[in-house]
Amino acid sequence: DVKVTQSSRYLVKRTGEKVFLECVQDMDHENMFWYRQDPGLGLRLIYFSYDVKMKEKGDIPEGYSVSREKKERFSLILESASTNQTSMYLCASRGGVTNQPQHFGDGTRLSIL
Protein backbone atom coordinates (compact mmCIF):
# COMPACT_ATOMS: atom_id res chain seq x y z
CA ASP A 1 0.00 0.00 0.00
CA VAL A 2 1.08 3.52 -0.76
CA LYS A 3 2.00 5.53 2.27
CA VAL A 4 1.97 9.33 2.13
CA THR A 5 3.04 10.92 5.39
CA GLN A 6 2.52 14.56 6.30
CA SER A 7 4.69 15.83 9.12
CA SER A 8 1.96 17.38 11.27
CA ARG A 9 -1.79 16.86 11.70
CA TYR A 10 -2.28 20.21 13.41
CA LEU A 11 -0.13 23.31 13.31
CA VAL A 12 -0.59 26.78 14.78
CA LYS A 13 1.64 29.62 13.60
CA ARG A 14 1.70 33.40 13.78
CA THR A 15 1.25 35.93 11.02
CA GLY A 16 4.50 36.66 9.24
CA GLU A 17 6.20 33.41 10.20
CA LYS A 18 7.82 31.18 7.60
CA VAL A 19 6.03 27.84 7.69
CA PHE A 20 7.21 24.50 6.34
CA LEU A 21 4.86 21.61 5.61
CA GLU A 22 6.58 18.34 4.81
CA CYS A 23 5.32 15.37 2.83
CA VAL A 24 7.02 12.03 2.25
CA GLN A 25 5.87 9.12 0.08
CA ASP A 26 7.27 5.61 0.02
CA MET A 27 6.25 4.39 -3.43
CA ASP A 28 8.89 6.01 -5.61
CA HIS A 29 6.18 8.10 -7.30
CA GLU A 30 7.28 10.69 -9.84
CA ASN A 31 4.40 13.09 -9.22
CA MET A 32 3.60 14.91 -6.01
CA PHE A 33 0.96 17.54 -5.26
CA TRP A 34 -0.02 20.09 -2.66
CA TYR A 35 -3.67 21.11 -2.28
CA ARG A 36 -5.58 23.25 0.13
CA GLN A 37 -9.17 22.46 1.04
CA ASP A 38 -11.64 25.06 2.26
CA PRO A 39 -15.37 24.75 2.92
CA GLY A 40 -17.37 25.47 -0.21
CA LEU A 41 -14.26 25.73 -2.40
CA GLY A 42 -13.26 22.09 -2.63
CA LEU A 43 -9.71 21.01 -3.36
CA ARG A 44 -7.50 23.62 -4.99
CA LEU A 45 -4.11 22.77 -6.41
CA ILE A 46 -1.26 24.93 -5.11
CA TYR A 47 1.80 23.36 -6.73
CA PHE A 48 2.82 20.04 -8.19
CA SER A 49 6.07 18.36 -9.12
CA TYR A 50 6.68 15.70 -11.75
CA ASP A 51 10.31 15.06 -10.93
CA VAL A 52 13.09 15.96 -8.54
CA LYS A 53 13.82 19.69 -8.61
CA MET A 54 10.90 20.24 -11.00
CA LYS A 55 7.82 22.20 -10.00
CA GLU A 56 4.76 23.62 -11.66
CA LYS A 57 2.29 26.21 -10.40
CA GLY A 58 -1.20 25.07 -9.78
CA ASP A 59 -4.33 27.19 -9.52
CA ILE A 60 -3.40 29.19 -6.41
CA PRO A 61 0.40 29.44 -6.01
CA GLU A 62 0.51 32.99 -4.64
CA GLY A 63 2.10 33.17 -1.21
CA TYR A 64 3.53 29.66 -1.45
CA SER A 65 6.67 28.00 -2.72
CA VAL A 66 7.76 24.37 -2.88
CA SER A 67 10.90 22.30 -2.77
CA ARG A 68 11.62 18.83 -4.11
CA GLU A 69 15.24 17.95 -3.48
CA LYS A 70 14.59 14.21 -3.21
CA LYS A 71 12.06 12.09 -5.04
CA GLU A 72 10.25 10.99 -1.92
CA ARG A 73 9.89 14.39 -0.28
CA PHE A 74 7.85 17.43 -1.32
CA SER A 75 7.79 20.48 0.91
CA LEU A 76 5.34 23.36 0.90
CA ILE A 77 6.60 26.69 2.19
CA LEU A 78 4.54 29.65 3.31
CA GLU A 79 7.05 32.47 2.93
CA SER A 80 5.24 34.88 5.25
CA ALA A 81 2.13 33.31 6.72
CA SER A 82 -1.12 35.27 6.62
CA THR A 83 -4.48 34.58 8.24
CA ASN A 84 -6.07 33.78 4.86
CA GLN A 85 -3.74 30.80 4.62
CA THR A 86 -5.52 29.12 7.51
CA SER A 87 -6.75 25.93 5.88
CA MET A 88 -6.51 22.17 5.53
CA TYR A 89 -3.45 21.23 3.46
CA LEU A 90 -3.32 17.92 1.65
CA CYS A 91 -0.35 16.27 -0.01
CA ALA A 92 -0.72 13.58 -2.67
CA SER A 93 1.52 11.41 -4.80
CA ARG A 94 0.93 9.59 -8.04
CA GLY A 95 2.89 7.18 -10.19
CA GLY A 96 4.08 8.19 -13.63
CA VAL A 97 2.11 5.50 -15.46
CA THR A 98 -1.03 6.74 -17.21
CA ASN A 99 -4.30 6.63 -15.31
CA GLN A 100 -3.20 6.07 -11.77
CA PRO A 101 -4.95 7.41 -8.69
CA GLN A 102 -3.49 10.06 -6.47
CA HIS A 103 -2.80 8.84 -2.94
CA PHE A 104 -3.24 11.30 -0.10
CA GLY A 105 -1.72 11.95 3.29
CA ASP A 106 -3.84 12.57 6.39
CA GLY A 107 -3.75 16.32 5.94
CA THR A 108 -2.39 19.19 8.03
CA ARG A 109 -4.85 21.59 9.60
CA LEU A 110 -2.94 24.86 9.72
CA SER A 111 -4.11 27.84 11.74
CA ILE A 112 -2.45 31.23 11.32
CA LEU A 113 -3.10 33.60 14.20
Binding site: V4, Q6, G42, L90, F104, D106
Partner: protein, 110 residues
Protein backbone atom coordinates in the same frame (compact mmCIF):
# COMPACT_ATOMS: atom_id res chain seq x y z
CA UNK B 1 -13.94 22.35 -10.52
CA UNK B 2 -16.43 23.08 -13.31
CA UNK B 3 -14.91 20.32 -15.39
CA UNK B 4 -16.46 17.81 -13.02
CA UNK B 5 -19.93 18.35 -11.63
CA UNK B 6 -20.90 16.33 -8.60
CA UNK B 7 -24.43 15.92 -7.32
CA UNK B 8 -25.97 16.17 -4.89
CA UNK B 9 -23.85 18.54 -2.79
CA UNK B 10 -25.15 16.95 0.38
CA UNK B 11 -27.23 13.97 1.31
CA UNK B 12 -28.92 12.94 4.55
CA UNK B 13 -30.28 9.40 4.66
CA UNK B 14 -31.68 7.02 7.21
CA UNK B 15 -29.52 4.04 8.05
CA UNK B 16 -30.36 1.13 5.76
CA UNK B 17 -31.38 3.26 2.79
CA UNK B 18 -29.71 3.13 -0.61
CA UNK B 19 -28.20 6.23 -2.19
CA UNK B 20 -26.49 7.38 -5.39
CA UNK B 21 -23.93 10.11 -6.04
CA UNK B 22 -23.19 11.31 -9.56
CA UNK B 23 -20.12 12.75 -11.22
CA UNK B 24 -20.51 14.28 -14.69
CA UNK B 25 -18.24 15.85 -17.27
CA UNK B 26 -18.81 17.34 -20.71
CA UNK B 27 -15.52 15.78 -21.80
CA UNK B 28 -14.27 12.22 -22.02
CA UNK B 29 -13.02 10.76 -18.76
CA UNK B 30 -9.91 8.69 -19.29
CA UNK B 31 -9.63 7.61 -15.68
CA UNK B 32 -12.27 8.14 -13.02
CA UNK B 33 -11.42 7.86 -9.32
CA UNK B 34 -13.67 7.83 -6.29
CA UNK B 35 -12.44 8.94 -2.88
CA UNK B 36 -13.91 9.12 0.58
CA UNK B 37 -12.89 11.67 3.18
CA UNK B 38 -13.79 11.53 6.83
CA UNK B 39 -14.21 14.98 8.32
CA UNK B 40 -10.84 16.56 9.06
CA UNK B 41 -8.83 13.76 7.50
CA UNK B 42 -7.16 12.91 4.20
CA UNK B 43 -8.77 11.34 1.13
CA UNK B 44 -8.98 7.57 0.95
CA UNK B 45 -8.90 6.06 -2.52
CA UNK B 46 -11.91 3.77 -3.12
CA UNK B 47 -12.02 2.71 -6.76
CA UNK B 48 -10.81 3.49 -10.25
CA UNK B 49 -12.76 3.09 -13.49
CA UNK B 50 -11.30 3.33 -16.95
CA UNK B 51 -13.43 1.56 -19.51
CA UNK B 52 -16.85 2.58 -20.76
CA UNK B 53 -19.51 0.47 -19.04
CA UNK B 54 -17.11 -0.65 -16.33
CA UNK B 55 -18.51 -1.43 -12.89
CA UNK B 56 -16.63 -2.16 -9.66
CA UNK B 57 -17.78 -3.03 -6.19
CA UNK B 58 -16.21 -2.98 -2.77
CA UNK B 59 -18.34 -4.21 0.09
CA UNK B 60 -21.59 -2.25 -0.23
CA UNK B 61 -20.26 0.43 -2.58
CA UNK B 62 -20.61 0.10 -6.36
CA UNK B 63 -19.20 2.51 -8.92
CA UNK B 64 -20.05 2.61 -12.61
CA UNK B 65 -18.70 4.50 -15.60
CA UNK B 66 -21.18 5.02 -18.42
CA UNK B 67 -20.56 3.81 -21.96
CA UNK B 68 -19.71 7.30 -23.22
CA UNK B 69 -17.22 7.76 -20.37
CA UNK B 70 -18.65 11.08 -19.32
CA UNK B 71 -20.57 10.16 -16.21
CA UNK B 72 -19.93 8.00 -13.18
CA UNK B 73 -22.19 7.03 -10.34
CA UNK B 74 -21.40 5.76 -6.86
CA UNK B 75 -24.11 3.67 -5.26
CA UNK B 76 -24.23 2.65 -1.61
CA UNK B 77 -26.55 -0.18 -0.65
CA UNK B 78 -28.04 -0.38 2.85
CA UNK B 79 -26.12 2.63 4.17
CA UNK B 80 -24.51 2.55 7.61
CA UNK B 81 -23.17 5.31 9.86
CA UNK B 82 -19.66 4.23 8.87
CA UNK B 83 -20.41 5.39 5.31
CA UNK B 84 -20.74 8.99 6.46
CA UNK B 85 -18.20 11.45 5.11
CA UNK B 86 -17.40 13.40 1.97
CA UNK B 87 -17.23 11.56 -1.34
CA UNK B 88 -15.18 13.08 -4.14
CA UNK B 89 -14.69 12.06 -7.72
CA UNK B 90 -11.47 12.83 -9.56
CA UNK B 91 -10.70 12.29 -13.22
CA UNK B 92 -8.11 12.42 -15.95
CA UNK B 93 -9.79 14.49 -18.61
CA UNK B 94 -8.68 14.93 -22.20
CA UNK B 95 -5.73 17.26 -22.45
CA UNK B 96 -3.84 15.35 -19.78
CA UNK B 97 -5.35 17.29 -16.90
CA UNK B 98 -6.64 16.04 -13.59
CA UNK B 99 -9.69 17.49 -11.88
CA UNK B 100 -11.66 16.90 -8.69
CA UNK B 101 -15.37 17.32 -8.20
CA UNK B 102 -16.64 19.57 -5.44
CA UNK B 103 -17.65 16.67 -3.22
CA UNK B 104 -20.83 15.23 -1.72
CA UNK B 105 -21.33 15.33 2.03
CA UNK B 106 -23.13 12.21 3.27
CA UNK B 107 -24.82 11.97 6.66
CA UNK B 108 -26.33 8.66 7.75
CA UNK B 109 -28.83 8.88 10.60
CA UNK B 110 -28.90 5.80 12.84
Amino acid sequence: SQELEQSPQSLIVQEGKNLTINCTSSKTLYGLYWYKQKYGEGLIFLMMLQKGGEEKSHEKITAKLDEKKQQSSLHITASQPSHAGIYLCGADIQGNQFYFGTGTSLTVIP
